[in-house]
């Protein structure tokens, strides 16, 4: 029997804080049990930080809403212990097709190379994602979930934030050293603090029709410009689990958002695409407009904004929920280090600056896609159509056609936490400081595994051993890592077939297909330092303990 996550209700419990004579101080309160708030809360609790997650409701998302979850998000869910369930339930896809009228003009593959644990994307209804995260959260120690708990007031003090929480039992004060506001696009906390998220609203309307049917379409993202069944507008088709298909119809600004939601308007549109004889049921219908906006700053003292409360994008590119989960990924380890006294509060400013940078990148990509899909002027429309017409025969024009630039993690190359490369080291490839670490197939203790599973949660030092190196001696050299300011997990990458013996104090990773070495552009003795969120912060040809110490301190704003 499958759980119906849309109907699932979570039990409200009277919080002990209602009756407390002394107001307790919690390390972190997270507001909002959506994908972002749940991810942040699990991540923090998993790292040993006592976390309270409050939500104004007692149910999960209704309607499929965010459906495209990107490779990076899945890798984060893996670290949070629920990636596999998402993958098994979700529909994996890598290929997109773009049609002009009734002609295929090009096909793209978002993950053209092998050797990654996760696909470019899965499609999965938001209520499943929230359901798996909520189940994981309920099993996580140090994490307490409080449903039907609405934050109605906020006051920042020097050492804590005091929230007023309204529940069916009345109002109680809740004090936290830090608050994460993941309470969505209409963030009540943002409003309560008198802050806003600003940007551009687009004058177009789109209809989402989720239909249940047995359909012959392949598991690919299909985007039509000006198709015969929906003239002069665009249509997007995605497959979801449970035989549900998402169809987005562009309607134009003049469409009546109420009338367009009525089945008698929606069903003919769907039939025009599928044909008169195809049987289907309408699962969920919504008409939406969108904006690209962001808050000026994601950090306001002890309050940190994450996800839609901090930034909003158009849906083309799947950059909303995906970027929000990456906010959580970036924030959790920094908050843990600050709370544990391992790093100064300035580290939290880098959460803001790094994720503001990522938000700007997402907004830029999303705005460009929207301007292509919804041209703002006659001439913009002419160029758009010219690019589409050229795309069939001219490869360059396919790259100009923009039906959404799909979510990839931002490369935080300008981050102050990075140690710049030594120019003499001559690294090539995509693994620059600030980039997310790549995945690759490996063997650990004789078992097939993935490189990314070996890191994350804490800093990791990756050392590449040469063919003739003695692993015990390499480990001894790296023993210096144990003396650093914060723990650094030691990973030794050895060539395929190297005599691997388990060593204390290090994880030995066999590079079975040579992909780790090639993707890191590594040579014997190359060393990489990975942050707890698996972004690269420093790399060097040759191990030097003093250099690692300096790079680590830089990555946590020490000294």
């Amino acid at each position: 029997m499958q759980t119906d996550y849309q109907k699932m209700q979570f039990a409200y419990e009277r919080a002990a804080d209602h009756d407390a004579t002394i107001t307790a101080l919690y390390p972190v309160v997270v507001i909002g049990a959506g994908p972002v708030g749940l991810s942040a809360a699990i991540d923090l609790a998993q790292q040993g930080i006592r976390t309270i997650l409050v939500d104004n409701d007692d149910t999960l998302s209704s309607g499929s809403r965010a459906i495209c979850f990107a490779k990076r998000t899945l890798e984060i869910f893996d670290r949070l212990g629920c990636g596999q369930e998402m993958l098994e339930k979700g529909v994996s896809w890598n290929v997109g097709k773009v049609f002009l009228q009734d002609e295929l003009i090009y096909t793209f593959n978002l993950l053209p190379e092998t050797g990654h644990a996760r696909p470019a994307f899965i499609n999965l209804q938001q209520y499943y994602v929230e359901g798996y995260l909520a189940e994981r959260a309920m099993q996580t120690r140090h994490l307490q979930m409080r449903w039907k708990s609405t934050v109605t007031g906020v006051m920042q003090h020097d050492a804590y934030v005091e929230l007023q929480v309204e529940t069916p039992d009345g109002v109680y004060p809740l004090r936290a050293q830090y608050v994460i506001a993941a309470d969505g696009a209409r963030s009540a906390l943002r409003n309560a603090m008198g802050l806003d998220s600003r940007g551009r609203t687009f004058k177009d309307r789109f209809l989402i029709a989720d239909v249940k049917m047995k359909a012959p379409f392949p598991t690919e993202r299909w985007f039509w410009f000006d198709p015969p069944f929906h003239r002069n507008q665009s249509v997007l088709l995605h497959r979801q689990p449970d035989n549900v298909w998402r169809i987005d119809f562009q309607l134009g600004w003049d469409a009546d958002p109420v009338a367009e939601k009525q089945p008698e308007k929606v069903i003919p549109r769907v039939k025009a695409l599928l044909g008169e004889d195809v049987e289907f049921e309408l699962e969920w219908v919504s008409v939406y407009t969108f904006s690209c906006l962001r808050m000026d700053s994601f950090r306001h003292g002890r309050v940190l904004f994450a996800g839609d409360s901090a930034h909003g994008v158009s849906p083309f590119g799947a950059r909303g929920a995906n970027s929000g989960v990456q906010d959580a990924d970036n924030l959790a380890w920094k908050l843990r280090m600050v709370l544990n006294g391992d790093a100064p509060a300035a580290l939290l400013d880098t959460y803001a600056s790094e994720r503001e940078y990522a938000a700007d990148e997402n907004i830029l990509n999303s705005t460009r896609a929207t301007d292509f899909i919804t041209p703002k002027s006659t001439v913009s429309r002419i160029f758009r159509d010219a690019a589409l017409k050229l795309a069939k025969d001219c490869p360059f024009a396919r790259r100009i056609v923009n039906s959404g630039r799909l979510s990839v993690p931002a490369v935080l190359s300008e981050s102050p936490l990075n140690t710049p490369d030594d120019a003499a080291d001559h690294f090539s490839g995509a693994m620059v400081p600030g980039a997310v670490c790549t995945d690759a197939p490996v063997k650990v203790e004789g078992r097939d595994d993935w490189f990314l599973n070996q890191s994350g949660g804490e800093f990791a030092g990756v050392y590449f051993c040469g063919p003739g190196d003695n692993i015990a001696q390499c480990t001894e050299r790296l023993a210096e890592l144990a003396k650093l300011a914060v723990p650094v997990r030691c990973l030794l990458v050895v060539p395929r077939g190297a005599a691997v013996s388990a060593v204390a104090g290090a994880i030995v990773v066999e590079d079975v297909e040579g992909m780790v070495t090639s993707r890191f552009d590594a040579q014997p003795a190359t060393f990489y330092l990975l942050r707890p969120d698996q972004h690269i912060c420093a790399r060097r040809r040759g191990f030097d303990a003093a250099w690692v110490s300096a790079a680590l301190n830089r990555a946590i704003c020490l000294g």
Partner: protein
């Protein structure tokens, strides 16, 4: 740094100009705009150099719509 070549670079400019105009023969104004747009994209891709393209965009725009620009800024 590469610069936009504004000296004569076409061997027979009169012949080219004639061909450019002839390419639009029999087209409606809308179709002509469409042809021009395709032509701009094809030539821009052939040039490729971002610096040169930026210079060409600026030079093509120079002196057009200045009055409305000023009005825009004043607002």
């Amino acid at each position: 740094m590469n610069r936009l070549n504004i000296e004569l670079n076409i061997a027979d400019p009169d012949a080219f100009y004639e061909k450019l105009i002839d390419a639009h023969n029999g087209l409606t104004e809308e179709q002509s705009h469409f042809l021009n747009a395709k032509l701009v994209l094809l030539l821009a891709n052939h040039l490729g150099d971002a610096q040169i393209l930026q210079e060409a965009l600026a030079l093509a725009r120079a002196g057009i719509g200045e009055a409305s620009d000023a009005a825009e800024q004043a607002r």
